[in-house]
């Protein structure tokens, strides 16, 4: 089959690889009909996530048709022919983490748990196409994928919704939603979201859905801010204005009640010297992150507010404003999304028309053009917001 593979830092190649087979009793094989490139794929391609190997199949946002199930899959739960969206964290459904609905911290799904434990203190779940630290599972930017614990994760789509309407249930829609949910939003809240990429857009939509009075989008790409504005959010371009002053203006001097970091470890910054400081430290590996968005979110947030982090971090960061965090009673909440927890309620919201995930799709390409898709997305060319690939 054809598959998008990691071929070294800054190199993506669509190659021929063997078709997947059942390895565990509860596996299913899915023929992929739609898949997407995620912002976190860029962290892998840019070389900021360790334990990638040449030939690793990328992709953790995918859906399709079940073509085969292992002998351990309950036919009442899943059978060949079902149309499914697959969540990116692989979860066993039986451990204490899964029982607590902390699916991205599943204790059993990562065969390389020992490595993850060294890096993070405790292991994390397996994830499709997302380095060997998270298990070394082949990803879904391919024609087929093996899905472990197929009776736990995948959600059946039985209505006539299009692929484009439901594909993002696999990651970015629940991720954005969880970012807003962690804010415990009240009707009086002003919510500021750093990053108007796909996850940021969904965090904004979710914040409004959960009742926020005002939602602010912070980015530097005019087309991304425009997309947020079209959806009714207030744009702030950090290259044109001072973010802190603008946020104070927009909130009567209070600062946003809730702040969401939808940027993560490769933040860019309006002032050159701070950007250079983090870039140099990252390049010489004395920090792995450029945490500018997180720093600014913490400093901007109203005292007693919540800073919710859904942008991806992988290692260690410098100049964390612990003083602001502690002295101003801020709550910091975060997590890789526990996608399985949100798929069903969000599917219902899509069916009821409360959320329109298709609004962020700007490019649809055949799988063989994945390389071009990565270029467009990474370099923000051609107003690229989200690339969907068709195998």
């Amino acid at each position: 089959m054809r598959a998008t593979t990691w071929a070294g830092r800054n190199k993506v190649e669509v190659r021929d690889v063997p078709d997947p087979k059942i390895l565990n009793h509860r596996d299913a094989i899915v023929r992929i009909t739609s898949t997407a490139i995620c912002g976190s794929d860029l962290h892998l391609v840019d070389g900021y996530v360790p334990t990638m190997q040449d030939g690793d199949v990328l992709g953790h946002e995918f859906m399709g048709e079940v073509v085969e199930v292992g002998p351990g899959v309950d036919p009442g739960r899943l059978r060949a022919g079902d149309r499914v969206v697959v969540p990116f964290p692989i979860a066993c459904g039986a451990c204490a983490a899964c029982a607590a609905e902390l699916y991205s911290c599943c204790e059993n799904s990562n065969p390389n748990a020992g490595i993850a434990e060294k890096m993070f203190g405790h292991p994390v779940a397996g994830i499709f196409g997302y380095s060997h630290l998270t298990g070394g599972f082949a990803g879904g930017q391919a024609q087929y994928a093996r899905v472990p614990f197929a009776d736990v994760g995948p959600i059946k789509i039985e209505s006539d919704l299009t692929d484009e309407q439901v594909l993002f249930l696999s990651d970015i829609l629940p991720t954005g939603y969880m970012g807003a949910e962690m804010c415990d939003i009240r009707s009086s809240d002003v919510v500021a979201v750093w990053g108007a990429g796909p996850v940021g857009q969904f965090a904004m939509d979710s914040a409004r859905l959960l009742g926020a009075a005002k939602v602010i989008a912070i980015d530097k790409e005019p087309y991304r801010l425009e997309l947020a504005e079209q959806a009714g959010h207030i744009p702030v371009n950090f290259e044109e204005v001072d973010v802190r002053s603008r946020l104070l203006e927009l909130t009567g001097g209070r600062g946003p009640d809730k702040c969401i970091d939808a940027v993560g470890l490769e933040a860019t910054h309006g002032s050159a010297h701070i950007a250079a400081y983090d870039r140099v430290k990252q390049a010489v590996r004395s920090e792995t992150e450029r945490p500018h968005a997180l720093r600014q979110a913490i400093l901007s947030c109203r005292s007693g507010g919540v800073v919710s982090v859904i942008g991806v971090y992988g290692g260690l960061l410098d100049k964390f404003p612990a003083g602001a965090w502690m002295n101003r009673s801020l709550t910091l909440r975060t997590g890789q999304c526990h996608v399985q927890r949100y798929m069903k309620p969000l599917l219902q919201r899509i069916e009821r028309g409360e959320l329109d995930p298709t609004r962020i799709i700007t490019h649809t390409l055949p799988l063989d053009e994945a390389e071009r898709g990565f270029e467009l997305f990474k370099n923000k060319q051609d107003n690229c917001e989200k690339v969907v690939l068709k195998p």
Binding site: T5, G129, G135, F137
Partner: protein
């Protein structure tokens, strides 16, 4: 998961020596850099006059300190490098003694510095003597030093979301152990309390032994040990405690192995060598997978279950070819 490793011969002393060597290395680096970049300040602090000869001596000593630093910080045999510092100290004390004898000037400062150097010389001498002794009694990295006559003791623990009687029952059927313990090929029941065990490749093929259950408390504890003449005498205890959540079981395991001589000893030492605790930790992770999900989890990068961690760097995270699947089927 938490674990501990104990060996009957400790290496704490050796590690302390390495640390002390490194500390002296950093001291040398600091002194060397100061003497080369701020020679005037160094001379002033030491109470040495400004003369062509003293300028040259301070620079030469600076270069020497950098050589010490390089040796102590990067060299494996810190003992030898510590002795070079002792020689250097002797030189410095001689030079300072000459300075005190011949120069009038800042005597008090000179005497103070001489006292400090003498103190450092004592530390250097002590370090050198200890490091030399340490090198004689133990070879470098502690992990590779499991040797004949030593015994390896390992402990590990995990929590499994099953009631204690279930976990006990699974373990008590010793024939289940090879499904999750990497070093076991097969365990065969030979009686109610006796069994025959054989090891798999990572532990050294062809190692077999008889074992008996020495003690058991149903639902709580099992202790077993090898019996008769065997190449690798070993014993183990596992105990099961209900976890505070009321539904899970805390599993604690303690294993002990006598490392024999010869090829078998080498294989066993190598198996436990690099990271002894990792093996048992991984065993328990697989036990948890088997009990909670039904089997050992496989990924494309680590498709071979028990052998997963033995093969890092892994194969790429892409599906296996038919040939690979066939080859690995018996793993």
């Amino acid at each position: 998961m938490t674990r501990s490793v104990n060996r009957t011969t400790g290496h704490a002393g050796h590690e302390e020596m390495q640390r002390q060597g490194r500390r002296l290395g950093w001291l040398s680096l600091g002194l060397g850099v100061a003497q080369l970049t701020a020679p005037h300040t160094v001379r002033w602090i030491s109470g040495v006059d400004d003369s062509a000869r003293s300028r040259a001596v301070v620079s030469v000593v600076g270069v020497r300190e950098l050589v010490h630093a390089a040796g102590l910080l990067t060299g494996r045999r810190k003992g030898v490098w510590a002795w070079t510092r002792v020689v250097g100290d002797a030189m410095d004390l001689t030079a300072l003694g000459m300075a005190i004898a011949h120069r009038g000037g800042r005597r008090r400062r000179l005497v103070g510095v001489t006292g400090a150097v003498a103190g450092i010389a004592a530390v250097d001498l002590l370090t050198a003597v200890h490091a030399t002794r340490a090198e004689h009694t133990s070879s470098a990295p502690a992990a590779r030093s499991a040797r004949k006559g030593e015994s390896v003791e390992l402990t590990a623990t995990t929590t499994i979301r099953k009631p204690a009687p279930d976990v006990f029952a699974f373990w008590r059927d010793l024939e289940n152990l090879p499904t999750f313990m990497a070093h076991l090929e097969q365990v065969r029941r030979t009686g109610d309390r006796t069994s025959h065990w054989s090891a798999s490749a990572p532990f050294g093929k062809d190692v077999e032994w008889d074992a008996e259950i020495a003690e058991e408390t149903p639902g709580e504890r099992i202790a077993w040990r090898s019996t008769g003449k065997t190449a690798v005498p070993n014993a183990g205890t596992v105990w099961f405690t209900p976890a505070p959540d009321g539904e899970s079981t805390e599993v604690n395991v303690a294993l002990a192995y006598e490392i024999p001589g010869g090829a078998v000893g080498k294989a066993v030492a190598k198996y436990f060598g690099e990271e002894p605790h990792q093996q048992l930790d991984d065993d328990l992770r697989r036990l948890k997978q088997v009990l909670e999900t039904g089997e050992v989890v496989r990924s494309d990068g680590a498709p071979w279950g028990k052998r997963a961690r033995k093969e890092f760097p892994q194969r790429p995270a892409q599906p296996l070819s038919d040939a690979e699947l066939e080859k690995g089927a018996d793993a």
